[in-house]
């Protein structure tokens, strides 16, 4: 083909990307409104509510996921700087970290080790493929870091992202019941466990319990992300 002149970009692709981007933002706004209406029910998860109609559209009109990614990749890119922003609440709440660093350190190690080891062992015992197990291992970590870890250890980042979301929903819905079962009343312990085991979705749920619970959850989520990202690839090198 011999186009000349005005041909800096493929405008059809730009248009298609823009369409999916605007649709994603619109559906997200609808999902947020629905969640507010439901009183913050963790089952009405904004990611699920926004992603499912898009998946249905792609399926019905037989659109390759790569076409959706023309717009979606912009949001995925913003996820990087947004994750770096986790440093801000961690720094602001540093007084909490210093006041309770010993129980935090113990809970952090226990939570992250149990999360990683149990998902590898259970997945393996039940006969999941190696790719699936590698994608499951970092599932308690907050999404962008988890996707990075999955890439590092040979898992599939997109699969990990979905596992993180479902882990968050499961944790957010079940944690209060589990705490009652073993009699955990300390708001700091509850919050920290929410953050370590259920990441961002757990943290949103923890903030509904109290400000202190939510703060500890956010700290737990960030510390868990940092620690798991450093330890898991090393563990994997060691085993493999």
């Amino acid at each position: 083909m011999s186009y000349t002149g005005f041909q800096f970009m493929d405008w059809v692709k730009v248009g298609e990307g823009a369409f999916w981007l605007v649709l994603t933002i619109g559906l997200y706004m609808v999902a947020r409104a629905l969640q507010k209406k439901s009183g913050g029910n963790p089952l009405v998860n904004a990611v699920l509510v926004a992603a499912l109609p898009i998946m249905l559209l792609l399926y019905l009109f037989d659109v390759p996921v790569a076409h959706y990614a023309l717009g979606g990749s912009i949001l995925l890119w913003v996820l990087g700087p947004a994750t770096v922003a986790l440093a801000i609440p961690l720094y602001t709440n540093f007084s909490h970290v210093r006041a309770a660093w010993r129980p935090m350190a113990v809970a952090l190690v226990a939570g992250s080790v149990v999360a990683v080891v149990s998902s590898i062992v259970i997945g393996h015992l039940l006969g999941a493929s190696m790719e699936t197990v590698r994608s499951l291992a970092p599932k308690t970590v907050t999404t962008p870091i988890a996707m990075g870890i999955a890439r590092e250890i040979g898992g599939i980042p997109e699969l990990t992202a979905a596992f993180v979301i479902f882990t968050g929903i499961i944790g957010a819905v079940s944690a209060a019941f589990l705490f009652r079962l073993v009699g955990i009343k300390d708001e700091r312990a509850r919050g920290f466990a929410f953050g370590v085991a259920a990441g961002g979705i757990g943290t949103a749920r923890a903030f509904q319990e109290s400000l202190l619970t939510g703060t500890f959850s956010g700290v737990g989520m960030t510390l868990n992300g940092i620690i798991t990202a450093i330890v898991l690839p090393l563990l994997w090198l060691w085993f493999a």
Binding site: P81, I88, A107, F163, I170
Partner: protein, 124 residues
């Protein structure tokens, strides 16, 4: 009023640029030193060091960060949609995945909360 708003937006852009710089510096270090860690984690550590050196959080950075963190769910949507490319694998490992997600999350929640209570009781 309009000037004030423009300044706030300008500040947010500046804060966002600072976040991107931390991230790219992290990516650069990961690439240059061959670290087996995602660049985002190094980016967080760089920003933490920067804040510790400044001894406070600049308003511009604080504004844009809280705004981004408040809309993390929007940024997860494309990642969720991306699963469509792996339907076959999910279908093949469906039950192992479901059981692992539930059991492992229960165990991690309990382990973390019980460990916290145990350690907090000990240090008292």
């Amino acid at each position: 009023m309009a000037g004030l708003k423009a300044r706030r937006i300008g500040g947010r852009v500046l804060g966002f640029v600072a976040l991107v710089l931390c991230l790219e510096l992290g990516n650069l270090m990961v690439w240059g030193l061959g670290l087996p860690v995602p660049g985002t984690v190094i980016g967080i550590l760089i920003l933490l060091l920067g804040l510790a050196a400044l001894r406070h959080v600049p308003d511009t950075l604080n504004d844009v960060s809280l705004w981004l963190l408040g809309h993390l769910n929007l940024l997860y949507v494309p990642a969720g949609v991306g699963v469509m490319g792996y339907v076959a694998l999910v279908a093949q490992d469906f039950w192992p995945i479901v059981v692992t997600l539930f059991l492992s999350t229960f165990l991690a929640t309990l382990a973390s909360a019980l460990a916290f209570r145990w350690a907090a009781g000990k240090s008292r």
